[in-house]
């Protein structure tokens, strides 16, 4: 099934550093295009800071809207990296190798972007310092540790620091490769970043152990982050549809679903942009899609449990909310889109082996998943607020304003911009893992069949 090709280390260097040692043709126009949105997006954010949150579509009961939805969405996407690199590393899945770096990178940049949202959606964003850390020595009032909004920066900060360090540690050997291939100021920077890596057995051993140890440490952090984000909602008894005990695992599984899908999107783009056909192969898409079927089904199960238990109590406000969310125009349309794009269409394709191995189909289905997952967050956050408690007098609707939509677009441009910027200077596919995979895999003949073989070290 797998066409393995033996590549020499020199070839691997050449292929995988092609985007780093010279600028591809499409690079500058793309960056300019994204840069336009990044710059204008920042301008819009500054305009919002200057004028006030009145420019959004938020109102009295619907105090949180598109920004928080997008925040949860990006935190969700950030779960891709550790899912791919930690879980698959611990389970020693060989096919993870070309994807780990890009997935971790997606983690770092999407978390960075996610952090923007709660901060910019605060009423007075210039005062957030004493929210994020205990700093107010003068007055002696510290952050309120009982507030989930204080858990958020701590959890996301931990996750961001952890994944950045994880990314860096795994980058060191590749930085040494770049150090050996560049000249001038670039060489100086790579030399400093590579810390003098030589590649002796001790360093390689530590690199391998570090991968496993850091994965094991990052895994619990990964689970806690989205759980804590979910508790922002779940601990509030006042909003129907938020106060559910399943939220923590539900959000985590949903995050994995959207994150891994985002990785699929990214892999397709990597294959098309840099022509890494030798490294990102249909079998990788196949493996990810099979993983996604499991994740998506578990996630659908959680959705089902959440819905069942929301109406289980047979209480009028909760039923009113579900009526709005599922049966009332225009929410019913959004709900159907969410259901079809989040599960039915993608999984419907993925059960067929041909679709799993077709990169165009995988690309579009993975995008559909993220449309659905964004809508899922929207459908959790907004209807609950719009139908708050039995005070029908104050029920409201919510339409996001143009400013909010533009900032949503900005966030996508910003993440892509950062990813491409990184890809210009650092290899997106880990060189050393690719080389390691060449060393540790082989083939054997059993009878007439050729069977791929993996080498494991003896304990």
């Amino acid at each position: 099934m797998q066409q393995r090709r033996k590549l020499s280390q020199k070839q691997i260097n050449q292929e995988l550093l092609s985007g780093n040692l010279k600028t591809p043709k499409w690079y500058i126009p793309t960056m300019l295009f994204l840069g336009f949105f990044v710059v204008t997006g920042f301008a819009v954010i500054l305009y919002m800071f200057n004028t006030g949150l009145g420019v959004t579509g938020l109102s009295r009961p619907v105090y949180w809207g598109l920004f928080i939805t997008t925040f949860v969405f990006w935190v969700g996407i950030s779960h891709a990296g550790i899912m791919i690199s930690a879980i698959l590393r611990l389970t020693q899945a060989e096919w993870r190798r070309p994807v780990t770096r890009a997935a971790e990178l997606l983690t770092v940049f999407s978390l960075l972007t996610a952090l923007f949202f709660p901060l910019m959606h605060a009423g007075r964003p210039w005062r957030i310092v004493y929210w994020l850390m205990p700093y107010d020595f003068a007055r002696g009032i510290w952050p309120n540790i009982r507030s989930p909004l204080f858990w958020d920066p701590i959890a996301i900060g931990t996750y961001l620091t952890g994944s950045t360090l994880f990314l860096y540690v795994a980058l060191i050997p590749d930085l040494a490769v770049l150090r050996d291939r560049t000249t001038g100021w670039q060489k100086v920077i790579y030399t400093i970043l590579a810390l003098g890596w030589r590649g002796n057995p001790r360093q390689w051993l530590l690199q391998t152990v570090a991968g496993i140890l850091l994965s094991a440490l990052m895994l619990p952090i990964f689970v806690s982050v989205h759980s804590i984000v979910s508790w922002d909602f779940a601990i509030t008894p006042s909003v129907e549809g938020w106060h559910s005990t399943i939220f923590a695992p539900y959000f985590v599984i949903g995050a994995v679903h959207s994150g891994v899908s985002a990785v699929v999107t990214m892999m397709a783009l990597m294959r098309w942009l840099w022509k890494w056909n030798n490294h990102i192969r249909p079998e990788h898409f196949d493996a990810l899609a099979r993983l996604l079927i499991v994740v998506a089904t578990a996630w659908l199960g959680c959705t089902f449990l959440e819905l069942i238990f929301s109406v289980y109590g047979r209480e009028a406000p909760e039923i009113a909310l579900r009526e709005l969310q599922i049966f009332t125009w225009p929410w019913n349309l959004l709900f159907m889109i969410f259901l079809f794009t989040g599960y039915i269409i993608p999984v419907g394709f993925w059960v067929f082996k041909k679709a799993r191995n077709n990169i165009v189909i995988m690309f579009w289905t993975s995008i559909l998943v993220n449309v659905g997952m964004w809508l899922e967050r929207f459908l959790i956050i907004v209807p609950g607020l719009a139908r708050k408690q039995p005070f029908t007098f104050t029920w409201e609707a919510y339409t996001p304003s143009l400013v909010e939509w533009y900032i949503l677009v900005w966030s996508f441009a910003w993440v892509s911009f950062l990813m491409l910027l990184f890809a210009r200077f650092f290899p997106l596919i880990p060189l050393f893992e690719t080389k390691e995979s060449q060393v540790f895999t082989s083939e054997t003949k059993i009878g007439r069949a050729t069977v791929p073989v993996i080498y494991r070290e003896e304990d």
């Binding site: 009145g54 009423g123 957030i128 607020l385 408690q389 005070f391």
Partner: protein, 250 residues
């Protein structure tokens, strides 16, 4: 986990007799001018961003032609177990020893989490910098802060009045009597439907109304233990029919 502070002599509370409320909105107006609340324009109402620390909700009950209107003035319930308080990351809202739920404007960064936590929807966000017509600028109450944009605000039980009266009483060495303090809404109520007082005083009107058999609190299944007590509307028709039924039984 209700924390009753034993040090303070006061635990402020309010009783609202729904039976007496005519829905005249005098309380709303009085609150508006006492507390420097910006003018609620038509646009604000349309965007659902109006700020009313106290509002009168009107519910229709029954089928035409037998329709009844029911008015419920809703203001901050000053819950002892307020869901809005623990969620604030910066302690911009907390519970005072006198049983009030207060908002610290200086601390507030405007996450609006407290407003999501509040089941009664009595917390308001300043989406814009507040504005008044030139002619009204000199009418602002000097005892009350004008809130800037980007922060939450809510009913304070006219804490400026509470402070002023208690301070004066202390200065003059007088005992505070029931009815000495009254928030603007209570002052303005023509039918005496709103009553304010100290719940630790056994004889205060508010304590008596609290112990009335008609007394209830809003959304009591959430167990927020509010300090605003509502006295249920007396439905004369219903009572008559009940009397009638009882009569036939015996």
């Amino acid at each position: 986990m209700v924390t009753e502070n034993k040090e303070s002599k006061f635990k402020w509370g309010m009783a609202v007799d729904i039976d007496k409320c005519t829905g005249c909105q005098a309380c709303v107006l009085a609150c508006q001018s006492e507390n420097n609340i910006p003018i609620n324009t038509e646009k604000n109402f349309k965007n659902a961003r109006a700020i009313e620390w106290i509002r009168v909700e009107r519910y229709w009950e029954g089928e035409f032609p037998d329709v009844k209107a029911k008015f419920i003035p809703i203001l901050c319930q000053h819950c002892d177990n307020a869901p809005c308080e623990p969620v604030c990351p910066v302690y911009a809202t907390y519970h005072t020893t006198e049983g009030l739920n207060v908002q610290v404007y200086n601390r507030c960064v405007g996450t609006r989490y407290c407003a999501n936590g509040c089941p009664y929807l009595v917390r308001f966000f300043n989406y814009w910098e507040p504005e008044w017509p030139e002619s009204l600028k000199n009418h602002l109450n000097p005892d009350v802060t004008v809130r800037s944009r980007g922060i939450m605000e809510k009913c304070t039980m006219c804490i400026q009045r509470i402070r002023r009266t208690t301070r004066n009483a202390k200065k003059n060495d007088e005992e505070l009597k029931d009815g000495d303090i009254s928030p603007a809404c209570v002052d303005a109520c023509p039918t005496d439907a709103l009553v304010f007082g100290n719940q630790k005083d056994e004889n205060s009107r508010v304590t008596q109304m609290k112990n009335d058999k008609r007394s209830y609190t809003l959304l009591d299944n959430l167990q927020t233990s509010p300090n605003i007590f509502y006295l249920a509307k007396i439905d004369h028709d219903k009572e008559e029919s009940e009397h009638h039924e009882e009569g036939t039984h015996h």
